[in-house]
């Protein structure tokens, strides 16, 4: 018997293993490796090995001594090509604006330079090397790990006297996090307000009508998000159908701005996410029998009391599941805000994409991704405690 059990287990693991390995290699490892980029500093430390070894001994105030200048000069001359110099400059520019041109100028200057390397040579190429601030950046970043990007994702930076907030013209990410959460909350509430009556009527209608309504809810659910967003562009644009109808009805004189702003984001995202609230809510409502509510009504409770005290508590798991699902999905939205929002309506996902494909700042992209993932995981964990994970199946 025991042998049969062991065999059974073995076969079970063998069946699960291919998926497990596949998901580990093509899903978990890439995400893990990427998230590590949020603190990874090896590119910088690896590009300036001599300087990094020396700079620990510098006091951080006076002009560094000759040997440190020598080390820096040697590191720069050892860079393989101008592309490597550009990468290094861009990396240091994340700490201090202007560093990029300093590195590029030094690199090209050293190529032309003849004679001994050192303080005199470097300062002659660019006098910014006589400013300790530029050296402090290197000293600060001499470790293999850096908090730079995680701090920057919260609009913070390391100053000479510890952590401080960055200047207002560069501040963005705290606002962005708040905005992302706010848009998600607003969309969730809109979905609840619209989804509750819909799910209720679906659950309380006869089987035939209810299955027709279900098909109509499933239709947008199965349709590509991109197609639905495109449809909203067509509807909401300045001379789109909505404005035309409103104008024809005499409700407005001039077309309203319904798209490429926050309103457009709310409308399109609510539409896209509504089925995710209706479906779980509907399945819970369908399971709620009429007995309790009828009993309460029979005992003379007014309808509003029956609704509040008897019906609502029974369907609460459905509300919680639906709302959380919508909220969590909304947090990571990218396509819809990109197509129907303006620059001030973009959410955190937009900046993850921006730092990946428009500015190639892996550190920032990974930090923001880490923050987003943390929000999502915490919510799911809380939710799994509350209602059980098997209710949260999407599509």
């Amino acid at each position: 018997m025991e042998r049969a059990d062991r065999r059974r287990e073995l076969v079970g693991w063998l069946l699960v293993a291919p998926s497990l390995l596949f998901m580990a290699f093509f899903f978990a490892v890439p995400i893990g490796a990427f998230l590590l980029r949020s603190v990874d500093n090896t590119d910088l430390v690896g590009a300036m090995p001599r300087t990094m070894a020396e700079i620990g001994g510098w006091n951080g105030q006076d002009l560094p001594d000759e040997s440190l200048f020598m080390a820096l000069g040697e590191d720069f001359t050892a860079l393989p090509d101008i592309t490597a110099a550009a990468s290094l400059g861009r990396r240091l520019n994340h700490n201090l604006t202007g560093y990029r041109s300093l590195v590029m100028r030094t690199f090209t200057g050293l190529r032309r330079h003849e004679g001994p390397l050192g303080r005199e040579a470097l300062i002659a190429i660019d006098k910014r090397w006589s400013d300790p601030a530029h050296w402090r950046v290197i000293q600060q970043e001499r470790s293999w790990l850096t908090p730079l990007y995680l701090l920057a994702s919260l609009d913070l930076e390391r100053g000479p006297e510890g952590i401080r907030t960055i200047p207002p013209e560069r501040r963005l990410f705290v606002d962005l996090l708040v905005r992302t959460a706010w848009i998600s909350i607003a969309v969730t509430l809109l979905c609840l307000v619209l989804g509750f009556p819909l799910a209720y009527v679906m659950a309380s209608s006869g089987p035939r009508l209810s299955s027709w309504m279900l098909v109509l809810v499933l239709l947008p659910f199965w349709t590509s998000l991109l197609v639905r967003t495109t449809a909203w562009i067509v509807l909401l644009q300045r001379n789109g159908l909505v404005n035309q109808v409103l104008e024809r009805l005499g409700l407005i004189d001039a077309p309203l701005t319904l798209i490429y702003n926050r309103l457009g984001v709310y409308i399109a995202m609510t539409h896209v996410l509504l089925p995710f609230l209706v479906l779980p809510l509907y399945s819970v409502m369908k399971g709620v029998g009429g007995d309790l509510t009828r009993a309460a009504a029979g005992l003379g409770a007014p309808p509003s009391t029956v609704f509040r005290r008897v019906y609502l508590p029974q369907v609460m798991p459905g509300i919680i599941a639906g709302c959380s699902l919508v909220f969590v999905l909304a947090l990571g939205y990218y396509i819809t805000p990109a197509l129907v929002g303006g620059p001030r309506d973009q959410m955190i996902a937009h900046f993850i994409a921006y730092f990946t494909s428009t500015s190639v700042n892996w550190g920032m992209a990974a930090s923001l991704a880490g923050i987003l993932l943390l929000m999502v995981v915490v919510l799911y964990a809380a939710l799994a405690r509350l209602v059980g994970l098997d209710r949260l199946k999407a599509r």
């Binding site: 990427f34 819909l198 998000l225």
Partner: protein
């Protein structure tokens, strides 16, 4: 409140009626945007606006003849079909395995296998881009197929698992008692019973890949432009009615897949109901 009560007051009846009307309006709003786009794909004009200046099939003609769109459609199929096969095979095995195991690790394994449903796709997309660029498979068909497969496996696992949950193990035991070999029992009993589940899992996998955009944006090269990718650049640039035609085609595929899935679900219920 649930189920129209007989002794309902006027207010109550009004609320009830009001809720029904509201639900109807919401349903219309839910479906209307997708209906609205259909006539626009048949416009004879060049702008996506009503009223239509006339009807014409020119945008469908463009969709089915213009090289970029044809190639994109072809690419979508070339990526979705292998993804479906791979994800359905892996996912079905995993679901069968999960059902068999008694280990305490099962819930953890199950959660791990469905994480792609939880992690925002943008995070996966940029990670895959970063990882693929180290492996040198950015802009390759296998890279996209593997990426889409990771996104599709959870759907297969969940669907097949749900079918297996309803599966009556007595049938299998009966077959074994009657002298069937395990292989025969699987082929004659298990497989027919879970087949609807496997096929709808496959449909999920297909549509996941066929509609996928975000991962494609990051890891596909111009050679692998898929239909959603092409539609995305269309929407951002030349908003001409070809994108309406493309949207209608994508929608038709979705509706077809949905009807098939729904039919399979009923079929599955019928087969299992017979037990």
């Amino acid at each position: 409140m649930a189920g129209a009560p007989n002794q309902a007051s006027l207010v109550e009846r009004l609320v009830f009626r009001g809720t029904r009307i509201a639900a109807l309006v919401i349903l219309v709003v839910l479906v209307a945007p997708m209906i609205v786009i259909v006539p626009l794909s048949l416009t004879s004009g060049t702008l996506l606006i009503y009223p239509l200046p006339g009807l014409s099939g020119r945008w469908y003609e463009e969709f089915f003849t213009e090289r970029l769109w044809v190639q994109a459609t072809w690419n979508s199929v070339l990526i979705a079909v292998p993804t479906t096969v791979l994800a359905t095979t892996l996912g079905t095995f995993a679901a069968l395995g999960l059902n068999r195991l008694r280990s305490r690790l099962v819930p953890a394994v199950a959660v791990f296998l469905i994480t792609p449903l939880i992690v925002p796709v943008i995070i996966y997309a940029v990670s895959a881009f970063y990882f693929y660029s180290r492996l040198g498979i950015v802009g390759t068909y296998p890279g996209l197929i593997f990426g889409h497969t990771a996104l599709a496996i959870p759907f297969v696992v969940v669907t097949v698992n749900a079918t297996l949950k309803n599966f009556d193990a007595n049938l299998l035991r009966a077959a074994l008692v009657l002298g069937a070999t395990p292989r025969q029992a699987f082929a004659r009993v298990t497989l027919p019973l879970i087949l609807p589940g496997v096929l709808s899992g496959g449909l999920f996998a297909f549509i996941t890949s066929f509609d996928e955009l975000i991962l494609t944006l990051f890891v596909a090269s111009p050679e692998q432009r898929t239909l959603p990718r092409q539609l995305w650049s269309g929407v951002q640039e030349t908003i001409n009615p070809t994108i309406a035609a493309a949207a209608v085609v994508l929608m038709l595929v979705s509706v077809l897949v949905m009807l098939l899935a729904e039919w399979l679900r009923r079929q599955g219920r019928r087969i299992q109901g017979k037990q």
